[in-house]
Assembly symmetry: C2
Homo-oligomer: 449 residues x 2
């Protein structure tokens, strides 16, 4: 009996069905053809970086591995699949596989927070073909999204400078409640200081952050109070808390606050501006409130951050929402690169892939990336190179513990610092040179039909 | 003790904390000032439609109401808030409110599937101030996202025509697993025929849909088979199933299939093209496979659909992913419009709102929208007008049952058909005339300070 779940909140037990139907039909075909247990390797990568992106910051691996560790098909789920009628002609082997196995493969991946470029695998799954196939959808979902948010957050941090306070305020615009939480995680891991999302902060063991909204001023003013009375009321319970001063006249509100501070009637740690010409207003407010943190919000992105810095806006911190958590996606793909020790390659027009299990060998010059070499995984490391893909899961079990957000955050910092100057540009950045190794290029040539 | 949840999958019990911190701090301030129980009305609307959108299709109300119905703070959640230290100076009243009350207010909303325009409320919450405040974040998240997806889906259906098959394939690009499920719901409700997401299909009581991927061809070819053997193998378990024919040479694959069909060696209901010039390829494939459904996928959106139709592409169905489930958001806001029977209004520069509890009165001419009148809720209905906002929740309880997806889908069709021709345009559509009633305009003028 199928019941309608109006909240549509998937729980981790549901995740085995959180896949495209064709993953399961293909797996059933593999089972029938007796090739389901052949060892297969799939790699996850992007063909192109999103427009104006010079790099990606890999993120989402933790959630991907958690999914693989816990992948199971319950008898209810199997019954559901049987009852759709779609699988009426499959071999019973298929049901045995679903009943008896979770994910038993190996995973190689670049650690979260690593900078990577087009055609470089973020992750490789090596597993029985059917397993490696069905995990495609969830892994892509997880890594595509968090990698996008982490990269945007890293770009914003890079432009804002290390002293700016960056706050993640995107929950109301994020694409679903869970999308909001994952965005908060990726943003915090990639250099944001805090999130306003209380649940995300709780789950991530961070302190939530926030200011106040226009509603408080409007409510108290509506009840025959004033904007200043709203500020005083808020400070009664949250001493010194950041005040939103643009509900009516920003400069007038700052002026009145300054007077109160002077006569010791108010203590204010911060103010927020959410509308108007932020550069001009922030300078006016700074002249009135020289020791107060000035926060700005409203469609902030890396370009707006740069513009505000160029115009010498006097802003200490930014609340970033919409432009962090929505927009053009990272279009990662997940492609079969080897089956039963035989390298494979797709050749559709403009969608060529590199065959074989690969490794990224990175070369630095004084801490700055000089070039990457995309090579076959069994090629020898050359002098001065660092391999980026690490074994993170062995036979379905995590090889190491989950990394802390601090560890990942540290890696993002190091990664961004390692980029050549031109690769930092937020518009038309210079690409990093990714060299294709001779053995990989030879293999590719040999597979062109 | 706070534990780290690496999957970061919120469950409905967690949702009370799925809010911006400031909602809770403001609620605490209201409690301290003894105004938390004052009756407040907030309205949710967009100031502008997204670029090139002539309308929005309201969606997400079901999930919003589900949240309101179940809103509770557990003692663990309250302890967590206390332990943050942020609330050290609040009045004990605040904790009593959280402990003892769920959502006890009323909700007025336009039914899911209704076409609405800028400044028109999708929803109004009338509740004790603190409750109406803290539900802001979740309601915005829910309605913003599903309204976006529903509107995009409706635009695509409108361009594709009623006979085209539209399949939702966006899970791998959606912003989180839950984002994928909500996208599937909104797309199906707004005119898509099916989703590839098995879990979404299960929860929505729909049949999942899908074709096959390049991996199956590559795996079987890698194991010394051929593309044709891959097709035969897939059809062994899924007779007639749609085949992806562009892994190597699309036209050659179609040619070989045609020959097999002629000699009765194959039965094929559909083929999919995922790369190359879809218009040209589809015509070539049609000439070879005249009775087979041709599906196209790969960065399909309403503009691409239009282009393909203009070029007389011979395509029966479309798999739509990235351009349906990602991109620029719907920027709904949630504003206090009345407190304790007193209308309120925000006046920040360029962010004016209309005060007071409002109703949308719609006027039709032969089934086509003539104009809307945005008026105060207690204004009399005029001849020929239909009021759009309905009471959907009374004192925290649903007034009616959840609507079925079919009911909502029917309403979307009617809504889109009711738009004047110019409002259908996918680029620079003509706006619908939204008249502001005289009493509303007078009220607004009277509140300008």
């Amino acid at each position: 009996m199928i019941t309608f779940n109006p909240s549509l909140t998937p729980s981790p037990q549901d995740y085995s069905l959180l896949t495209d139907l064709y993953e399961l039909t293909m797996a059933a075909c593999y089972a029938g053809e007796d090739i389901a247990e052949k060892r297969a390797s799939f790699e996850l990568f992007v063909r192109r970086l999103p427009e104006h992106f010079g790099y990606l910051i890999a993120m989402g691996l933790t959630q991907g591995l958690q999914y693989l560790e816990n992948l199971r098909f319950t008898s209810d789920q199997i019954d559901y699949l049987k009852n759709t009628g779609i699988f009426d002609h499959v071999s019973p082997n298929f049901w045995s596989l679903l009943e008896n196995q979770g994910f038993t493969g190996d995973v190689w991946a670049v650690p979260e927070g690593t900078a990577i470029f087009a055609n470089e695998p973020l992750l490789r799954v090596e597993a029985p073909l059917w397993q490696a196939q069905i995990v495609e959808t969830y892994l892509l979902n997880t890594l595509n999204y968090q990698t996008l948010i982490a990269t945007r957050a890293a770009r914003m941090r890079d432009v804002a400078g290390e002293n700016a306070i960056l706050l993640e305020f995107g929950t109301r615009r994020a694409f679903s409640p869970q999308g909001a939480i994952w965005a908060a995680r990726a943003a915090l891991a990639a250099g944001f200081d805090a999130t306003s999302n209380v649940l995300a902060a709780k789950e991530l063991n961070q302190q939530p952050s926030g200011t106040m909204a226009h509603a408080l001023v409007m409510a108290i003013k509506g009840l025959s109070g004033s904007e200043d009375e709203a500020f005083t009321a808020f400070h009664r319970y949250f001493p010194g808390a950041t005040l939103l001063i643009d509900t009516y006249d920003t400069v007038a509100a700052a002026q009145r606050l300054a007077e109160k501070i002077t006569i010791g009637e108010a203590e204010v740690k911060g103010v927020r501006l959410d509308s108007g010409d932020l550069a001009t207003l922030s300078k006016k407010v700074r002249s009135l409130l020289p020791t107060v943190n000035i926060f700005a919000s409203g469609d902030i992105d890396e370009w707006e951050l740069k513009r505000l810095r160029t115009e010498n806006a006097s802003i200490d911190g930014y609340g970033v929402g919409t432009r962090l958590v929505t927009g053009e996606p990272v279009n990662g793909v997940y492609k079969l690169v080897e089956i039963d020790n035989i390298p494979t390659m797709k050749q559709s027009s403009h969608k060529m892939t590199y065959p074989g299990r690969k490794q990224i060998f990175r070369c630095y010059d004084n801490g700055i990336i000089k070039s990457d070499r995309l090579a076959l995984a069994d090629e020898a490391i050359e002098l001065g190179e660092t391999p980026l893909l690490e074994l993170v899961m062995k036979e379905g079990k995590l090889v190491t513990e989950n990394e802390s957000l601090d560890t990942i955050r540290q890696r993002v910092q190091t990664s961004v610092k390692s980029l050549p100057q031109g690769t930092h540009y937020i518009t038309e950045p210079s690409p990093i040179k990714v060299n294709i190794s001779e053995p990989l290029e030879k293999l590719r040539q040999s597979l062109i039909v």
